[in-house]
Symmetry: C2
Subunit: 353 residues, 2 copies
């Protein structure tokens, strides 16, 4: 049975790394029993320039029947974020209730950490971010706009249902890992209403997973510890905003944002999950064919895992890490000279070999 | 004319490092024209154990006439944060409208950065945090508490007045530094109401300081850049929560939270500002006399600057950095064996010499 994949290459280097991901999938599909069907959608800032919106009105319904969405990157100089992101990325996350944002923070063999004396054995954790509610709510507004008395109010909304489902996911994930450790980000020592509520949801969930060891960190200290003690962490869960910050910070210590993958998951198979590199469309290098496809290919690995194709995922990840470890064919950002295609060629040779 | 200093040693190692700070001030006061009068207040978790509150009802009024407050640390195992912090630290910050929280991030000569290949010339910036409003508001509550439909709502409040005063401070500070650069933290690509308002306040203020170069960073990317490009930053301003996170993260890259100072400032001389180490009361090492007094002494330096005693401040800071550079007498956390007192003795000898 073929997996139906919706491709949204998007803008800038999104259009260069998405084909690299597809080449990997096509190579894997030469194996018996593994097959993919791709539908490509041009939703992007270019699409916006022509149609005044990032995707058509029925975009969400068009994407719905797919098994997964693979997104390159969106964004273009001059197009404000609230157009490009709120017109495509956030609506997809919300319409399909992709409430889990997963970001592995792992230093690939052969890459160098920005932290002193830290190697792959020190940096290997997973950030699990709540992806639908919390600090990113649409609720709020202004009072006395334009006057000296002006103010803006923004509501953070943390629901029990929203917390329970992300925490359940995080606890299960921790339980399935050898260390069985879960750290959670909070700020209940400063933020009085939402954060103590979040802490209570964690405490309640912890009772149902008594083999998982749980540690509370205020987000400021947690951020500091990602730098000073990355080896302390196994699974780290946070609300939307805290997860956002931590899942950019972690990758910065582990080879850079440029190689970081992410998954936006709804575990319900009736709706698609979405897989995307953490990096943006990088207009400064777009068109040169030099973008690093690692973040995209790693996102493809996460997609394969989510589709239940664990052995294909393992093979692709293993091959990629062999290539970084070997260190001979790397893109410019990692100190090499290879193009996007040359890196992918080397990886595909490794995958076959 | 003597400067009147209110001392609140607090709990744990707060009671060990505060005397080190006082010894430095007493040494400086041997100089003509410099004098201090100290009043010590026992406000702490111990005080709470005896009186059921962290400070007396008239605590704020008692502190008000002083020129500055020097705080050690508060917190004790078993006393919840909402008692110790909301009963002392936050009320002082708010009652005196100490709306500026200043945290220098600078790697002292002789100390080692947690970042690979980074030295003192790479890490030298100042985090300016809004300290009174924003994400730490008291506004919010719960709906359907205890039921499956439960939720908590927390309002962030960003006022024009609150933004203008912190931004004015940040721009002036940037203007007075050689690089004249101001980076600001936002998250207006995800948080729709409060953050675009904050961005507008920055843009308006930028027009009044056209010799300062301003850069916008979303807080997730900013956190990542503190790790990958610390040398990009000069002055960094953020709302209460973002400033909190960034000002723990920065120090983690620069010798650790253990050596980081902070100032809670209201520029109005009619009310006291407060100076405190970033570290907490560290119950695990309290009572052993081994706490590192650098964060406290650096906070004393910031207090001297605020009191207009720039040359005393420079001398104390210079002497301290000579001691760290020499590297012979350091506390345990920095790889040495010196006690709190031995470090302070060495520093005072250097200061005299
Ligand atoms: C203890 C806590 C309320 C406080 C804060 O977040 O303001 C602390 O983290 C700080 O930065 O001084
Ligand atoms: C672009 C922005 C809205 C988005 C977010 O904060 O969710 C991005 O930072 C991410 O993490 O995917």
């Amino acid at each position: 049975m073929a997996h139906h994949i919706a491709l949204i290459p998007g803008d800038g280097i999104g259009k260069e790394v998405t084909p690299a991901g597809v080449r990997c999938l096509e190579a894997l599909a030469r194996r018996p029993g593994l097959d993919f069907e791709f539908s490509e959608f041009p939703y992007s800032c270019e699409y916006y320039a022509r149609h005044g919106q990032m995707m058509p009105d029925d975009g969400i319904e068009t994407l719905r029947p797919h098994d997964a969405i693979l997104l390159g990157a969106v964004g273009y100089p001059g197009v404000p974020d609230h157009v490009s992101l709120w017109g495509l990325l956030l609506p997809i996350r919300r319409a399909f209730q992709q409430y889990v944002n997963l970001r592995p923070v792992r230093l690939l063999r052969g890459l160098t950490s920005a932290l002193r004396d830290r190697g792959p054995e020190d940096i290997n954790y997973l950030v699990v971010r709540e992806n639908n509610e919390g600090e990113y709510s649409d609720i709020g507004g202004r009072l006395y706009d334009g006057l000296p008395e002006a103010m803006a109010i923004q509501a953070n909304v943390i629901t029990r249902k929203g917390s329970e489902r992300i925490l359940d996911y995080a606890f299960r994930t921790a339980q399935a890992r050898p260390r069985k450790q879960l750290a959670y980000a909070t700020k209940s020592n400063g933020i009085k209403h939402s954060m103590p509520f979040w802490d209570e949801q964690v405490a309640a969930m912890a009772e149902r997973f008594d083999d998982v060891s749980v540690e509370q960190y205020h987000v400021d200290i947690l951020a500091a510890n990602f730098v000073t003690h990355p080896d302390w962490f196994d699974v780290v869960v946070g609300t939307n905003l805290f997860g956002d910050i931590l899942s950019d910070l972690g990758p910065a210590t582990a080879g850079g944002i440029g190689v970081a993958p992410s998954a936006n998951i709804n575990p319900d198979p009736a709706v698609p999950s979405m897989f995307e590199p953490v990096h943006g469309s990088a207009p400064d290098i777009a068109g040169e064919g030099v973008a690093n496809p690692i973040a995209m290919i790693w996102s493809v690995v996460m997609m394969l895992e989510d589709l239940g194709e664990q052995s294909a995922a393992d093979d692709l990840m293993g091959a990629m890490e062999n290539v970084t470890h070997e260190g001979r064919v790397l893109t410019r950002d990692l100190g090499g000279t290879a193009s996007t295609n040359a890196f992918t060629d080397r990886l595909l040779a490794e995958l076959k070999g």
